[in-house]
């Protein structure tokens, strides 16, 4: 198991370098000049422009710039935001918990509903439940996120006034960050109503963000279950006189989880990407919104560093998925 882990970690090295390169090249490939954008409408004199270019080192060959950046990254220095003048690293960690909280809630919703939906669809193959669930999944999968988000906002915030439209918590409440997770911090603060407020802010964005992974997980669970249910060992389990609940929920699902776990891991990657749109719609102060803003400002260090850190987060998630995979599938564990 340890060797398995180490070999996985080794594969991180080329991925890491690749991501660094891509994030570096990506922002530079966009038209627009950070110095012009920074100067804004007032503009900048040619002399001052030259000075700034030298100050930021943009006059040097691109490869030298990349080398500088890479060595900086390896020493843990992601640079400083052009706009706020704060280290990218600090900004990222101030905002990341908000994105993480949203993503975790979304993936919990997606798993908690997606897996049972897939199991029920598979065990009712071709019948009413199967068709109803799978058409719903297809709709969820193909619905434009912003449209779906607006629909929910109109119904639940606009008409019913059940949930707030934006932010993480009502301005009424103020307490110190302990964990960065609003649900936990609001509980720790002991203020009455703070937790309920945090939950009501989180509900709609989580549902919106969960929609696509939920559909993907439900469909994958269904197809994995259908495959597993025709296996010989399922017939053996039934020949023992086990109840359908035990046959489907233990013998079949345990095997079906192997491909489903992979899909969940992949979903987490797309979830972080999907968070950008969701955070923008709900003004959720997370890294998604931060990066979108930085792209518009051509804030090179933030975009580079943000992309890199998100990529690392995805890689860590994939590693965790690989480990889970080993726990569920004994053929891998024992190797």
């Amino acid at each position: 198991m340890l060797r398995y882990l180490l070999s996985k970690l080794l594969t991180f090295v080329p991925t890491f370098i690749g991501v660094t390169l891509i994030s570096f090249a990506f922002i530079r490939a966009l038209p627009g000049d950070p110095i012009i954008v920074m100067a804004g409408e007032r503009g900048v004199t040619p002399e001052r422009y030259k000075e700034l270019v030298e100050q930021f080192g943009y006059d040097r060959p691109i490869l030298v710039q990349f080398w500088d950046y890479l060595t900086g990254v390896l020493q843990g220095d992601l640079g400083t935001s052009f706009v706020t003048k704060k280290p990218v690293w600090n900004e990222f960690f101030a905002l990341f918990p908000a994105t993480l909280e949203l993503s975790i809630c979304a993936i919990i919703i997606a798993i908690a509903l997606g897996i049972p939906a897939g199991v029920i669809a598979a065990t009712h193959r071709g019948k009413f439940f199967d068709r109803a669930l799978m058409s719903t999944a297809l709709i969820g999968y193909s619905m434009p996120i912003f449209w779906w988000a607006l629909l929910l906002i109109i119904v639940f915030s606009g008409n019913l006034h059940w949930t707030p439209v934006s932010g993480r918590i009502d301005l009424l409440y103020y307490f110190k960050d302990v964990t960065g997770f609003m649900l936990i911090d609001s509980l720790l603060s002991g203020q009455k109503g703070a937790f309920a407020s945090a939950v009501s802010h989180l509900v709609l964005p989580s549902i919106v963000l969960a929609t696509i992974p939920l559909a993907v997980i439900a469909r994958q669970t269904r197809s994995a279950m259908l495959e597993v249910l025709s296996e010989d060992y399922i017939r053996t389990a039934r020949a023992k006189g086990l109840s359908p609940l035990r046959v489907n929920g233990l013998h079949a699902l345990r095997n079906a989880m192997i491909p489903v776990i992979t899909v969940i891991g992949l979903s987490v990657g797309t979830l972080l990407a999907g968070a950008i749109l969701t955070e923008t719609i709900f003004s959720w102060p997370g890294i998604g919104k931060w990066m979108v803003d930085s792209i518009f400002r051509r804030d090179y260090p933030v975009v580079q560093g943000g992309l890199l850190l998100v990529a690392v987060a995805v890689m860590v998630v994939n590693l965790v998925v690989d480990l889970l995979y080993g726990l569920i599938n004994p053929k891998i564990r024992k190797r």
């Binding site: 060992y233 053996t236 389990a237 023992k240 006189g241 086990l242 013998h251 095997n255 599938n329 053929k331």
Partner: protein, 325 residues
């Protein structure tokens, strides 16, 4: 009273191309302690008829029977829940592919103990002891260690032993072995058959052995039932069947053996078992039968009396010499 008694069992599958009758009016009787072999070419409905009795067919199957009783109880009338109390306990089954018949995600010990937990009131320690006892019984060395093994760590022969241990967990009164050795090496085949035979004698349970192998039939069974295209075509005690097969199909099966019962495989007879689309109007074997006459092609065959092995034939074979021609 017979332990298992089936009369006129039919199974029809709903397929994309319309209904398909995989089992057509099969009778079967097994007494306590009997060893019955069911033989026949691939596709003759051997597995399907037994799976129907175990309630293990998919929902596309429609099962009809005039009688289906086990130990005096009408299986057709049992609710799904009541039936689950019988199968795996009084009536157990092992399958052709031992390697894929064990769940890859659970240890051998878990899977054996699960059968015990389902049907018997034993505590943890007793289940553990019984699981070791069972593995010992089926000849698995170092049972204590093997309990924590996963199926992919076992050979085919070992897997089949585990399957047998699992099937015997609750001391069933009937064991159905569906081609238990087809997927195994020849040397292992003999071991597993000896094991099954010994266990049957020790426990006095009834055994239904589905096989392609006439050698196995001769060694293991007391009675043989021959199936063809979903129908039972003949039934006889082993000696009688080998000496005087009454149905031309049985005769052809035996005659095609280069030296009787010395080869292991069921030989091929020219032609194939009729499928869903080419079912003859008359006797189902007529297109492949050397003795077929006009009537065989036009009219379904009658079932002859017990003295003629219940042969489903217009022109049953009566003389031993005739069969060997």
């Amino acid at each position: 009273m017979a332990l298992l008694s089936i009369r006129n069992l039919s199974v029809e599958f709903a397929t994309a191309a319309g209904p398909f009758r995989a089992v057509d009016g099969v009778d079967l009787t097994v007494d306590q302690g009997d060893v019955l072999a069911i033989v026949g070419e691939s596709g003759s409905g051997k597995s399907v008829s037994m799976l129907a009795m175990m309630g293990l067919l998919p929902w596309t199957a429609t099962i009809t029977a005039d009688e289906m009783s086990f130990d005096g109880r009408d299986i057709r009338r049992l609710s799904a829940r009541e039936r689950r109390k019988v199968i795996g306990r009084d009536m157990a089954m092992i399958f052709q592919e031992p390697m894929s018949s064990l769940n890859p995600c659970f240890t051998v010990g878990f899977q054996i103990k699960e059968a015990l937990r389902q049907h018997l009131n034993l505590d943890r320690a007793q289940r553990h002891a019984r699981a070791i006892e069972l593995m010992d019984l089926v000849g698995i060395p170092a049972p204590e260690k093997r309990l924590s093994a996963f199926p992919h760590q076992l050979s085919g022969g070992m897997s089949q032993r585990v399957m047998i241990a699992m099937a015997l967990a609750c001391k069933p009164r009937l064991l159905i072995a569906d081609e238990p050795t087809t997927a195994l090496d020849v040397t292992i085949q003999a071991q597993i058959l000896d094991l099954l035979s010994d266990l049957q004698k020790e426990t006095g349970m009834a055994l239904i052995l589905i096989t392609h192998d006439m050698g196995v039939v001769a060694e293991t069974a007391q009675r043989v039932q021959v199936q063809y295209a979903g129908q039972k075509v003949e039934e006889q005690p082993v000696e009688g069947l080998f000496a005087t097969p009454h149905h031309p199909y049985t005769a052809a099966l035996l005659a095609a053996l280069p030296e009787r019962a010395t080869t292991r495989r069921l030989p091929t007879i020219p032609g194939v078992v009729p499928g869903q689309y080419d079912r003859p109007a008359g006797c189902l074997f007529a297109p492949r039968c050397a003795k077929a006459t006009e009537i065989c092609h036009s009219t379904r065959a009658p079932v002859q009396g017990a003295e003629l092995g219940l042969a489903r034939c217009h022109h049953p074979v009566t003389q031993p010499e005739e069969a060997t021609q």
